[in-house]
Amino acid sequence: MLAFIIRRLVQSIVVMLVVSLIAFIMFRFVGDPVDQMVGLETTLEERAKLREQLGLNDPLPVQFWHFVSKAAQGNLGISYQFKRPVLQMIGDRLPATLELSFVSALFALLAGIPMGVYTALRRESILSKLFLTISLIGISLPTFLIGIILIFIFAVHLQWLPSFGRGKVVDLGWWSTGFLTVSGLKALILPSITLGLFQMTLIMRLVRSEMMEVLRTDFIKFARARGLSNRAVHFGHALKNTMVPVITITGLQLGSIIAFAIITETVFQWPGMGLLFLQAVQNVDIPIMAAYLLLIAFLFVTINLIVDLLYVMVDPRIRIEGKEA
C-alpha cells in the first residue's frame, strides 16, 4: 500500500515537472519578458541590468530550476497587465470556479447515478426512455448553447434566476463564498446545470451500462439463488460493483469540469479563473496563462491521486496486490 502511494506520488511529480517545463517555455520564449515589464523609454543598459537581475542570462536548466522552485513556493510571477502577483489574482478567482465545479459535479452525481440505476432496472418504462432521450440531448448539444437556452428560458422568459454573475458573496477572509446568501445560491443554479449536464449524462450512461453488465454476472444470479431480496441484490451487490468505474470516471471528469468551466464562466460572466484566463489570453499576459496551466495540471494530478486511493479503498483486489507490491 505504501509502495503504491509512493509510486503514484513519483508519477505525479514527473507529470508536474513536464507541465512546468511547458509553462516555463511559454514564459521564457513567448515574447521577451523584459519587453513586457519595462516601458519604451528604458535604456539598453537598464534593460541589460534587469536581464541580469532576473537571471535571464543564466544557463536554461538553471533558469528552469529557479522557475520550478519559485513556483513550488507559490511565486508564480507578476501579471504584466495588472502588475499584481499572479498567485494572489488566481486566489481571488479560485473560490468562484471551485464552488461552481463542486456544485456541478454534485449535480452530475446526484442526478446521474439514480437515473442510471433506474434506466438499467426498468429498461422498458417510459421514464427510462425519457431519461435516455434527455441524455442524448445533453451529450450532443454544445455547452454554450445549453447555457444560452437556459438563460433564455429561466432568466429572460420566466425571470426566475439571474443570468450572470455570482450574486451576493460573503467574504470569509481567504475565501469568498456564494453558498451563504440566497442570491448566491440562485446564481449557482443555471451555471451548474450547464456545466454539469454533460457529466451527468456521462455518469448516467456509465452507471446504466455497468449495471446491466453486472446484473448478468454469475454472482448476481447466485445472490438471487441465495434468496436475497431484490433490494439487496440491486443496491448491495450490483450497484457497489458499478461504483469502481463510476468513481474513476467522476474523478477524472472533475478535472475536466474545472478546466471546461472556462466556457460556462464566459456564458454566465462568472468571475472565476476561466474568465481570468480568457482575459489573459486576450492581453498576452503570459504569467497568468502559465500559472493557470500549472494550476489546472496540479488539480488534475491531485484528483487522479485521490481517485486512485479511493479505488483501492473500494476494491479489495487492488488493495491486496498493493500490499504485496
Partner: protein, 325 residues
C-alpha cells in the same frame, strides 16, 4: 421411493424467439427423495441447467415455465408469487453453480456474504450469524475457518471457493441442493473432494441433491439414481448401478460404452456418432432417432413416452410390449 421431496411432473420450459417457440425442456418428469443424490447427465444443451433454473424459479425472461408442475414436499412451487418464491430460494433449496471464481461477489468478504444470507433467512443477531458462518465453513472443510472468514473471495483457491459457495448454499439448512456442474471448473484433484463434501452433507443432514454434470465418473461415484436427458427430454431414469451395468435406452447404452474413456480423461459425452439436434430442428418422432442404431419405422413418426420398465423410466419404443429385444 418413499419420502419424495421434490417432484417434477411434465415440466415444459419455453423460449419465445424470432423463429418461433423454442422448447428447452420438454415434458420432463422425475422425483428426488430426502437424502438422495440424483445425478443428471446429458450433452451440452440437453436442458440440465434449465431444469435446475426452473426448479429454483430463476429462468431468465423471456424464458418461462409453459407447462407441468414442480412440487416441494407436496406443495406446488412453480406458480408461487415472487415474494413467496424468494423464501423458498436459499431457504429450502440451495444452489451451487459451476464456476466458483465468478459465483462470489469480489467486493465483499466471505463473512459479509455468509452473514447476509444467514440473516436473510433466519432471525439471528450479527454475532450469532457469524458464529454459524464459521460453523458452516468448518463443516465444508475450510481449515482455520474463524481466521479465514474475513478474507475476500480472491484470497481462496478454486476448490476452497467452491466450498465457500457450498457453505452459502447451506446457510439456511435447505432440504434440497441443486449443484450445477459443481466440479467442472475445478482441478481433477479437487473434484472428488468437493463431491465428498456434497455426499457427506447429504447423508448427515438428509439433504437431497440434484447433481448436474457431464461426467459419468462423478455420477458413478456420487449418485444414487441417474436421469439421462437428451434434447430437453428424459431418455432414462434409474438406479446408478443398474443403469451403468445394464442400460436400457440406446442413447444411455452408447454413453455407458464410453465410460472407460470418460473415467480416464473425463471427456464430454460425445462417443456416439453424430451430435444432438439443435432445439430448433428436433426431428419428429423420437429425438434420438437420427443417431439411434436400433431405430425402426415408428421411431421417425411417433414420440416415445416415458414408461416404467425393469425399475426404470425409459423413453424408447423398443420396450413397448412385443417389440422388446
Amino acid at each position: 421411493m418413499s419420502d419424495v421431496l421434490l417432484s417434477v411432473q411434465d415440466l415444459v420450459v419455453e423460449f419465445p424467439t424470432r423463429k418461433g417457440i423454442l422448447t428447452a425442456v420438454d415434458r420432463i418428469s422425475f422425483d428426488i427423495s430426502r437424502g438422495e443424490v440424483l445425478g443428471v447427465v446429458g450433452e451440452s444443451g440437453a436442458g440440465k441447467s434449465m431444469t435446475g433454473s426452473a426448479i429454483i424459479g430463476l429462468i431468465e425472461p423471456p424464458g418461462h415455465i409453459a407447462g407441468g408442475s414442480i412440487s416441494l414436499a407436496g406443495e406446488r412451487i412453480d406458480n408461487l408469487p415472487r415474494d413467496a418464491m424468494r423464501k423458498v430460494r436459499g431457504k429450502r433449496i440451495g444452489m451451487v453453480f459451476q464456476d466458483p471464481l465468478t459465483s462470489l461477489n469480489p467486493l465483499y468478504t466471505i463473512a459479509e456474504q455468509l452473514i447476509e444470507t444467514i440473516r436473510t433467512h433466519m432471525k439471528l443477531s450479527e454475532s450469532a450469524a457469524r458464529a454459524r458462518a464459521i460453523e458452516l465453513l468448518d463443516e465444508v472443510g475450510i481449515p482455520a475457518a474463524s481466521r479465514r472468514i474475513d478474507d475476500y473471495p480472491h484470497q481462496f483457491s478454486g476448490g476452497m471457493r467452491q466450498r465457500v459457495v457450498i457453505a452459502l448454499a447451506l446457510c439456511a439448512e435447505p432440504e434440497l441442493i441443486i449443484a450445477d456442474e459443481p466440479t467442472t471448473a475445478l482441478d481433477v484433484s479437487v473434484q472428488s473432494q468437493i463431491i465428498d463434501v456434497l455426499k457427506r452433507l447429504c447423508s448427515e443432514h438428509r439433504t437431497a441433491v440434484m447433481l448436474i454434470t457431464h461426467d459419468m465418473g462423478v455420477i458413478a461415484e456420487a449418485a444414487d439414481r441417474v436421469a439421462v436427458l437428451y434434447a430437453g427430454r428424459v431418455a432414462e431414469i434409474g438406479p446408478v448401478k443398474d443403469v451403468i451395468k445394464d442400460a436400457k435406452h440406446p442413447y444411455t447404452k452408447g454413453l455407458m460404452g464410453s465410460i472407460p474413456t470418460l473415467m480416464q480423461d473425463s471427456d464430454r459425452l460425445t462417443q456416439i456418432p453424430g451430435s444432438m439436434p439443435r432445439l430448433t430442428d428436433i426431428p419428429p418422432g423420437c429425438a434420438f432417432s437420427p443417431r439411434c442404431p436400433k431405430a425402426f419405422a415408428r421411431c421417425f413418426i411417433e414420440q416415445p413416452g416415458c414408461k416404467v420398465h425393469d425399475g426404470r423410466d425409459v423413453a424408447c419404443m423398443l420396450y413397448d410390449e412385443g417389440t422388446a429385444l
